[in-house]
């Protein structure tokens, strides 16, 4: 096997792992807030974070590139913080992936939290559990199926992203050249054998991920609804 595969595979797994971790940490409070708030800003915020679902990835990547560039507001911010410029770096790729994969993590979490409803929270409060205690010992276990879905969807989706990566990451070996970009390179170069290896690997990986999700979580989201 071509040693360049190894670099791309490790980079892709690193990117997807880190992105998923960040998304679960960010997504938990955000999804909790979206599931519970009655504020009118819920709708615009919900629509905003769901935008990557409908937006062409290149559009998202283009705006990120502009915003993160030397004249963009985020670019000036990262420069003044001494972080330099993020486009065409791994950090920039992580930022783009977090935004791009956000809805795939947020929505399973929000659905799980909404399915739990008010009742277990009230029961926990009458049993002396503080709100944080309740969140850790009642909400998180009850939302476990949602977390599984969120992690698998977030991870798999980041592994498969292409447009955003190409726009703000480019194609730098061991820094931003992830699997999907590498497959594109091979196809461009008419190296179909190599493309087959990588594409087939991705196909198997995605199938295995979904299989694991269904096996670990029989009934999936329906379980949350049936509990009510």
């Amino acid at each position: 096997m071509n040693p360049a595969y190894g670099g791309a595979v490790v980079l892709t797994l690193k990117l997807a792992g880190l992105t998923t971790l960040i998304l679960l940490l960010l997504g938990t409070p955000l999804a909790w807030w979206l599931a519970r708030t009655r504020s009118w800003v819920k709708l615009p915020i919900g629509a905003l974070v769901a935008l990557p679902l409908v937006l062409p990835p290149t559009v998202l990547g283009f705006y990120l590139l502009v915003a993160l560039g030397p004249h963009g507001p985020l670019g000036q911010l990262t420069q003044s913080l001494g972080l330099g410029l993020l486009p065409f770096t791994f950090s920039g790729l992580v930022l783009g992936s977090v935004i791009y994969s956000m809805p795939f993590v947020l929505q399973p979490l929000q659905n799980a939290f909404e399915a739990i409803g008010e009742q277990p929270l009230e029961a926990a409060a009458t049993l002396r559990a503080s709100p944080l205690d309740t969140f850790i010992h009642v909400v998180l276990p009850l939302a476990r199926p949602g977390y599984l879905s969120a992690a698998v969807m977030g991870f798999a989706h980041t592994v498969g992203e292409f447009g955003v990566v190409l726009m703000i990451g480019g194609n730098i070996p061991d820094s931003t050249r992830v699997l999907s970009v590498q497959i594109y390179d091979h196809v461009e170069a008419l190296e179909y054998t190599q493309a087959h290896w990588l594409a087939g690997g991705m196909l198997l990986f995605s199938f295995a991920a979904l299989l694991a999700l269904y096996a670990l979580n029989p009934g999936g989201q329906r379980q949350g609804a049936a509990q009510r």
């Binding site: 029961a123 926990a124 409060a125 009458t126 049993l127 559990a129 503080s130 009850l142």
Partner: protein
């Protein structure tokens, strides 16, 4: 020694929803079972939720909630104790067990969050009281409705609450399941020294369980007092209709073994009831329905009716068309009799008339 804390339950607040306002100012004995009684939509559950802290009263109503010396809410002092810091046990209408935990873990959830020094009720006692020892490893989803409700009551009791709040714990159950749980609730009453607020719209439940009652009607308290007094007050809807009747607190004074009868004495006389396997001197709660009481002017000889009590007519009120509810005083104990208007005229009954109440049926409700 400090003086004993006043055993009272105070609750004063207002709660407004669109089209509905609940306004109460309660000052109740902080012991025994108190029923919050009323039709659905009268505000019973809302009242319970505000006392528990699950619902917030109107910000401008100067709410005050205190239970046996512990103040949980005092708007004038800006005090609101969050739900999880109130020593309450709350049983929801539909049990509301944690589905991710088994029965034992459900019981442990609240208990392990209470300091050991404040645990007055032993877990084994609770488990035995509610008869759930064989269910400990089961998941809530595999329990019957009645079992779930018993576990929910046990879970609340396991926290050694200072006040037990029961929100229609039997409402979601069929008659058979109800009959399965009621004895446990009665044991609760007799074995634990714990004030209980019990929301109900069923007269028979209240007659069995409640020492005192608060009647709610469209968000207002229409009456409050001892159960046996409210049950016979003709100005209240409780004393009307088919289920109306008196509640009598009696003491077992003897047994007629030959006839399988037990003698139950109360200030107004003696009732013979179906044999009870209980010792002399034990208390009995008896329910005498108004429709089971007929009146005569002279004591009847040659009748199969065992229980005939001398009484005085206190007042009348129209019941259904042609029917009159008669309030009676039998030696200080109130009774109700529902008779026809024609009989009232035929016997020339007026307040003060001396009559004999023939009691055709007595139910033992505790």
């Amino acid at each position: 020694m400090t003086a004993a804390v006043e055993q009272r339950l105070h609750a004063r607040f207002r709660l407004s929803h669109p089209g509905f306002t609940l306004q109460v100012d309660l000052n109740l004995a902080g012991a025994g079972v108190t029923a919050l009684f009323g039709a659905s939509g009268s505000g019973k559950t809302s009242c319970l939720r505000v006392i528990a802290g699950l619902s917030r009263s109107d910000p401008d109503c100067n709410a005050y909630i205190a239970v046996n010396g512990k103040v949980w809410q005092d708007d004038s002092a800006g005090l609101f104790v969050p739900v999880h810091q109130r020593a309450i046990g709350y049983v929801f209408q539909d049990a509301n067990l944690f589905t991710h935990l088994n029965v034992a873990q459900n019981l442990a959830f609240g208990r392990q969050r209470v300091a050991a020094a404040q645990q007055r009720i032993a877990l084994e006692q609770v488990v035995a009281l509610l008869g759930i020892g064989h269910l400990m490893q089961r998941r809530p989803g595999t329990l019957s409705g009645g079992e779930r409700q018993r576990v929910a009551i046990a879970r609340a009791l396991a926290t050694s609450p200072r006040l037990l709040l029961l929100d229609e714990p039997l409402a979601a159950l069929d008659a058979q399941r109800k009959a399965e749980i009621l004895p446990y609730l009665e044991k609760l009453h007799s074995e634990l020294d714990l004030p209980v607020l019990y929301v109900s719209h069923a007269t028979d439940e209240v007659a069995r369980l409640a020492d005192q009652m608060v009647l709610l009607d469209a968000g207002r308290v229409s009456a409050a007092g001892a159960t046996h007094e409210l049950m016979t007050r003709l100005d209240l809807p409780l004393a009307h209709g088919d289920g109306a009747g008196a509640l009598i607190h009696a003491t077992i004074s003897g047994h007629e073994a030959l006839y399988h009868l037990t003698l139950a004495d109360f200030p107004g006389g003696r009732l013979r009831v179906a044999s009870q396997p209980r010792a002399l001197g034990q208390r009995l709660r008896l329910r005498v329905l108004a429709r089971d009481v007929s009146l005569t002017l002279a004591p009847q000889a040659g009748t199969s009716i065992l229980n005939i009590l001398p009484a005085r007519v206190v007042a009348f009120a129209d019941d259904s068309p042609g029917q009159v509810m008669v309030a009676l005083d039998a030696g200080g104990t109130a009774l109700l009799a529902r008779i026809t208007k024609k009989s009232v005229d035929a016997l020339s009954l007026v307040p003060g008339s001396a009559v004999y109440a023939q009691v055709k049926g007595v139910a033992i409700v505790g």
